[in-house]
């Protein structure tokens, strides 16, 4: 059965950042130089081809874009300036919008104004909500104690409600990724045992991102890992120890220490990324989509307002600390609410999931090939197609 070519897809992808994919003439240099590309997952060449031809279903079923960590070697080696690295990045954005069942992700990627508008809207709502709660139940001049403007116990509950909502959204989208790439993919017939065998990859990839370390330059991996670990540390502190870090006057030293290290890591990572995107010296930082900037700017202001709030609190300026806290919350809530399930941040789920599913695909293809070799009828054409 012939599959329909869609010459228009390439135009659609342009809004996601794939500007030069049409220049590719399939020499394969990009795949040859890539540390992650192998016999099973041939990229960037193959996804470049699928994109040029507009074979949407095939791209949707492909894990390739998530196996690329954008070291930029391919773009450097490309004889035609087709920017395969940036194409893979754009495909990740496009796939994110496809996995998202709400359609919000797609809206954000094609219109930065919509994204900024949504961030502002959620920020205003958050601000109004917390101010209302604060004025009704506490005193804006009190940071701690029974009349505290925003008591940690209340924020703690709010945090957990938000965490559950975000996790649910992300889980549904991750489920759709599994559905598109593995269940609906006619070329893959995975075995249950493979799922169990590869399960360890989920936490391993999440915490070490060791696939990223296989790129030729390990620096970006190290910086990304430090940023991610800082974020996770901060997340653990907030989700489990909010009382200990928010309330004074005394804060136990371990919370202080972890908090400061995490803050330093976040600031360092974000500023480094921003400087890189301004300097545009490294291939993977040459092209910035609007969504990249929105994400970085949000992360920076969230970190900075957190620092300001902490400093004001430690200085005993409770009124100012409360105002800073409301501002901080009005930034952090829209950032998490919109970026985690619909934006760039969703890759925290898709990256480890892709590594996990890739192992399952690999396993399935090997067994399909073996059964073909053993003369099992029926599987031949599918395995050949996969090969």
């Amino acid at each position: 059965m012939a599959i329909r070519v869609n010459p228009k897809l390439i135009d659609e992808l342009a809004t996601y950042g794939a500007a030069d994919v049409q220049n590719c003439y399939h020499c394969g240099n990009c795949s040859a130089v890539c540390a992650h590309s192998d016999d099973t997952f041939v990229f960037p060449r193959k996804p470049m081809r699928l994109l040029q031809m507009g074979l949407e279903k095939r791209i949707e079923a492909s894990l390739d874009p998530w196996l690329c960590y954008y070291c930029g070697q391919c773009s450097t080696q490309c004889p035609r300036g087709a920017e395969p690295g940036e194409t893979m990045m754009s495909l990740r954005r496009w796939l994110t919008s496809r996995y998202d069942f709400t359609g919000i992700s797609r809206l954000f990627y094609v219109s930065w104004k919509a994204e900024v508008g949504a961030l502002v809207l959620v920020a205003v709502l958050t601000c109004v909500g917390f101010l209302t709660y604060g004025f009704l139940n506490g005193n804006i001049a009190h940071y701690d104690g029974p009349t505290a403007f925003l008591p940690s116990s209340v924020v703690h509950v709010f945090d957990w409600v938000m965490a559950v909502a975000l996790s649910l959204l992300l889980l549904i989208n991750a489920g759709r990724m599994w559905w598109f790439t593995t269940v609906k993919n006619p070329r893959i017939r995975p075995r249950l045992a493979s799922y169990l065998k590869a399960l360890y990859l989920l936490p391993l990839q999440f915490l070490t991102q060791k696939e990223y370390a296989r790129c030729e330059s390990r620096r970006p991996w190290a910086i990304h890992l430090s940023l991610m670990l800082s974020y996770v540390t901060m997340l653990i502190l907030i989700m489990f120890f909010l009382k200990q870090i928010q309330e004074g006057p005394a804060i136990a030293w371990p919370f202080h220490a972890f908090g400061y290290v995490a803050t330093a890591g976040l600031l360092f990572g974000v500023i480094h990324a921003m400087r890189g995107r301004i300097a545009r010296k490294e291939p993977h930082l040459k092209h910035s989509h609007e969504s990249d900037w929105i994400f970085l700017v949000m992360l920076l202001v969230v970190t900075l307002t957190g620092v300001v709030q902490h400093v004001l609190h430690r200085s005993g300026l409770e009124l100012a600390a409360n105002i800073a806290y409301v501002v901080h919350l009005s930034l952090v809530v829209p950032m998490l609410m919109l970026e985690v399930p619909f934006g760039k941040w969703s890759h925290l789920a898709y990256r480890p999931l892709a590594a996990f599913l890739a192992a399952i695909h690999r396993d399935a293809l090997v067994s399909q090939r073996t059964s073909t070799a053993n003369g099992e009828p029926g599987s031949t054409s599918r395995a050949l197609a996969a090969a």
Binding site: I3, R4, V5, P7, I10, Q22, L55
Partner: protein, 574 residues
């Protein structure tokens, strides 16, 4: 027979000959032969010292004949004839024994190869005794030129010759000049207008008093030989009447061009059945009129271009037509500039972008978002009508080799890149001017690399696409090359004719005319008054066909006499 003093010179050719032939043994073996005055060997006989050795040998030993055992005469006979001339000997008194191509290069047994070299050398010695001193002849060179075909190649050649103040008869079959190029809109890769290229040439041709333009005309007959042809041209008048005239020319340039492949022969492309499947020339017409639209007048949203229609396929033509790839890229540019929102699929077998600026052109075509789709030439795309629910008129199904996917491509218009083929009247032209055709009908050049515009018939040149598919720059270059060759000959004033040719001995000729028809070069005339055949030395290539065929033994091949050949055969056998 009078005594001769024969000098034998054996060449080692570095190790080319010496590796498998004992050169000194060859010298020794011939030293005792009757009439051999000297026999010596040298590392490179063709080098300056080697040639000097021959010239000095002739003078010191008063040699009357020279034998050189070395490479093929095709390689260095001219060189050694020159050396003999410098030594004061008639150049035709020299004979070569080929102990390289026909001996050392093809044998591995050194002893046997040496024996063979000895036999070949002794054969040459026996033969050279019978050589006669010959003189080359000269003939007049008529400075007029006949150019057949008024396309870009013919126009260019005519202008080049006329600009050098020589008369040209430009014969064009149709009623207008410009040939196939006049049917084209822009040209690849610089997107220059074909009309601009042609208008300047045509105006200059029409204005040049040296060029006698004969439209609606055809060559009917050509007799004579280089420098002295007589051409009969028929001009068709408006009312079916025609007049013939005969002109004297020294050279002929054939620039008859090509014809397009008939797309209807590839039945499953549906040309002639599906309304929006057009050939590249039909599309050129749309471009020239500025209306790119489907049969029912809509602007096509999807345009597909299929390459290699009739080319690179055993079923039709195995060769590549060379210009279609770049023309297809040109269409993509023209389509995108006419309608930026249209999508162009370029369905190709291999992209041949070999010319100057062509690779860049290929890249810029990618940049305007042309979708390149590759197929295997043995598995052609299939075009079918789309369903009413589709947003396109047709669907093209093909196995796409770069992705390995079986795909269908939407199309509102399909352009078939039809290849070039030899004109249907090329056989007639070949017969008239006495040149050969290859298996595809293209005219054959004298040497594909070293002599690409000359033919095996002296004075007949082939330029442009009548010899093989080629683009405008190559056609123009060939036209100018042929003109330069002719101008060189005209400048010399006379043509030199090699002393080796066949001669009819009148007293033995019975006038049977068998040789007249046999001669592949039309070099034998029949004199109706004396009723004897006569060889035109300038046209004769000394192939010997007439000598062998003559039932009366009346024809003598100069430099290839019966005595010479018998002596040579004896030399090999004894």
């Amino acid at each position: 027979m009078e005594r001769q003093r024969i000098g034998v010179f054996v060449c080692s050719c570095g190790t080319n000959i010496a590796h498998h032939v004992d050169v000194d043994a060859v010298c020794e073996s011939v030293q005792g032969m009757p009439d051999v005055a000297i026999a010596s060997s040298y590392r490179y006989m063709c080098s300056n010292p080697g040639q000097e050795m021959i010239a000095r040998g002739i003078q010191e030993h008063q040699l009357t004949r020279v034998v050189i055992a070395a490479c093929s005469p095709r390689m260095h006979e001219k060189t050694f004839r020159g050396a003999c001339k410098r030594g004061g000997l008639n150049p035709y008194l020299c004979e070569m024994a080929n102990i390289r191509e026909q001996c050392s290069w093809v044998h591995s047994d050194r002893l046997a190869a040496t024996e063979k070299a000895k036999a070949l050398t002794s054969a040459a010695i026996r033969r050279v005794r019978h050589h006669e001193p010959l003189e080359s002849l000269t003939a007049e060179m008529c400075p007029n030129t006949l150019v057949i075909g008024g396309g870009i190649a013919g126009l260019t050649a005519a202008l080049e010759l006329a600009d050098a103040a020589h008369d040209v008869f430009l014969v064009e079959k149709t009623e207008r000049l410009g040939g196939n190029l006049a049917r084209v809109d822009l040209t690849a890769p610089h997107l220059d207008s074909a009309r601009d290229l042609l208008t300047e040439r045509i105006t200059r041709v029409r204005d040049n008093p040296r060029i006698k333009l004969l439209l609606n005309s055809e060559l009917r007959n050509l007799v004579g030989y280089v420098g002295n042809f007589s051409a009969t041209v028929r001009t068709n008048g408006a009312s079916g009447a025609h007049e013939e005239k005969t002109v004297d020319v020294g050279n002929v340039i054939v620039a008859t061009g090509y014809q397009e492949f008939d797309a209807g022969r590839v039945t499953h492309y549906g040309h002639g059945k599906l309304p929006n499947v057009v050939t590249s020339f039909e599309f050129e017409r749309m471009l020239r009129t500025g209306r790119i639209e489907t049969r029912d007048g809509r602007l096509p949203q999807y345009v597909a271009i299929i390459h290699c229609v009739g080319s690179r396929n055993k079923e039709f033509h195995a060769y590549c037509s060379r210009v279609c790839c770049m023309t297809a890229l040109k269409y993509s540019h023209e389509l995108k500039s006419a309608n930026p929102s249209c999508y162009v699929s370029d369905i190709y077998v291999d992209m041949h972008a070999f010319g100057k600026g062509c690779e860049d052109f290929y890249k810029t075509t990618s940049e305007v978002k042309t979708l390149f789709l590759m197929f295997d030439k043995n598995e052609r795309p299939v075009i079918r009508k789309a369903a009413p629910s589709d947003d396109c008129d047709m669907l093209i199904e093909v196995n796409e080799t770069l992705s390995g996917e079986r795909i269908e491509i939407p199309a509102d218009m399909v352009i078939l890149m039809v290849g070039m083929e030899a004109r249907s009247d090329s056989g007639e032209v070949a017969r008239l001017v006495n040149i050969s055709q290859d298996r595809d009908g293209w005219f054959m050049e004298s040497h594909p690399k070293l002599d690409p515009v000359a033919t095996t018939t002296d004075g007949i040149y082939i330029v442009g696409t009548c010899a093989a598919p080629k683009d405008i720059p190559d056609s123009v270059a060939q036209a100018r090359a042929a003109a330069a060759r002719i101008l060189g000959k005209i400048a010399k004033g006379k043509i030199e004719i090699d002393g080796v040719f066949a001669e009819v001995q009148d007293e033995r000729c019975s006038g049977c005319r068998m040789c007249n028809e046999l001669c592949p070069y039309s070099a034998i005339e029949f004199n109706l008054d004396t009723r004897r055949s006569h060889v035109i030395p300038a046209a004769c290539k000394a192939c010997g066909a007439c000598v062998a065929a003559c039932p009366s033994g009346a024809i003598k091949g100069r430099h290839f006499t019966v005595e010479q050949l018998h002596a040579q055969i004896e030399g090999v056998l004894l």
